[in-house]
Symmetry: D2
Subunit: 140 residues, 4 copies
């Protein structure tokens, strides 16, 4: 599990006075990108190598709302990886009281730039898998 | 099932050249608000009556991407209703070829303005339930 | 002047209960894209031809706010065109009372895909200029 | 002048591969909110005190684009303050090369919750003005 922290932005609120619910998907993505960065993988390099990674599934459970003035932590855990796809689970924590705001899950496929399924090249797979295996061991 | 149609906006695209995945949740919401409107219920009236309806669950499956130049149809079906919650399922159709772009599901709870669970008053429940029952009958 | 109309989306509101101010720039862009479409020019075709058109200047004056339930009209007028740039002015009208919500101005440059200034090819220039001149004549 | 720093988010990019131009207004707002925070003023407290501060004017000049992988600094300077309005200027710096990405200006009015002009109460005015005067002195 890796974590990032940030503050709610005014632009992320809606007329109910809380963070607009699709914006939590932005934060989950920030967690996912941070996870890959810790594997030594940036989206720009993947894309330059002709690899895209479209989202094919998202699910989120909203438990507590955040508002302007709140800070949050995104806890990102890889839950599945092979050369065709990667899966993550997320917890977003409201830092003022430690409450779970959102729990989420995403799945990305790997494709070429035409959107055709493409197996992730060994080079990239190894980088991500090494960190994934290492993280898994921590929980055994 | 009720449907709305619209065109992809430039502002909805991302650096991969397609509609950014959280934005489909905006469209599902537009479908949901349209559904309520057809029940004779507007969000402003509900809120003026002290009723909020936070999202507690979303799931989406992304099947085909849309890009600038595409038009889409959101097909919104209520799949559950009681005085504590309402549930919808969605299909978003890419109109150029009829492909399903996204399938989704959402659940809203009814709360007071403090976020406490609140049973939907009869007056509002009846308006929504009448349309829901009528729609259900069409599929028997 | 060309006009488009649409309804405020829930996703466009902020915690003050009104449309979040940067979102009016999205609507001005929708007006601009619509203007080009009426010239027979789509962004996809321009981009496929290696022409980008980054925004280099925006100014907006906010006069009246819009909220959920409001509909609006974007009135888009081209105010300058040569092979290096195009300029537009905008009025966004709140339809419930005809009040001007926002007045705006934008300038786009034409560049190649590397961001280098590029003069708009004759073919495209003519399409846009024909409509621009025609529109100008209406106001003489 | 106060500064904040952050990284471009994937969600902030558009199909041209760069930060979508209205999103710079979000960052200018983050700079503005940070400025007020350094005055000991939070938006939540102002709003709880019945004071709103709608934007009435924005202008931006876009000079260099940012993309995913870029970090930026927002330099926020108050350029005018009285009990009716506050004005700021901004520079957004692309940190990889120090280039100015965007220069901007905003004006906010103070209003009550009904949108009527309201003079900023002494208590709040003093807090903001003290910092403003102090900042001004640095530049004499």
């Amino acid at each position: 599990m890796f974590t990032i922290r940030d503050d709610v932005r005014f632009s992320e609120t809606d007329m109910m006075g809380v963070v607009y619910h699709p914006n939590y998907l932005h934060w989950m993505e920030m967690g996912r990108i941070d996870y890959l960065k810790r594997c030594g993988v940036t989206l720009n390099e993947l894309m330059a190598d002709g690899i895209l990674f479209p989202i094919t599934e998202v699910s989120t459970q909203y438990k507590n709302s955040l508002t302007l003035g709140d800070s949050y932590e995104v806890q990102t855990t890889m839950s599945g990886l092979n050369k065709a796809k990667m899966e993550y689970t997320y917890k977003i924590i409201r830092l003022r009281d430690g409450a779970v705001a959102v729990e989420g899950y995403t799945r990305n496929l790997f494709t070429d730039t035409q959107g055709k399924i493409k197996r992730l090249p060994d080079h990239w797979f190894k980088k991500i898998n090494d960190v994934y295996q290492q993280e898994e061991k921590k929980h055994e």
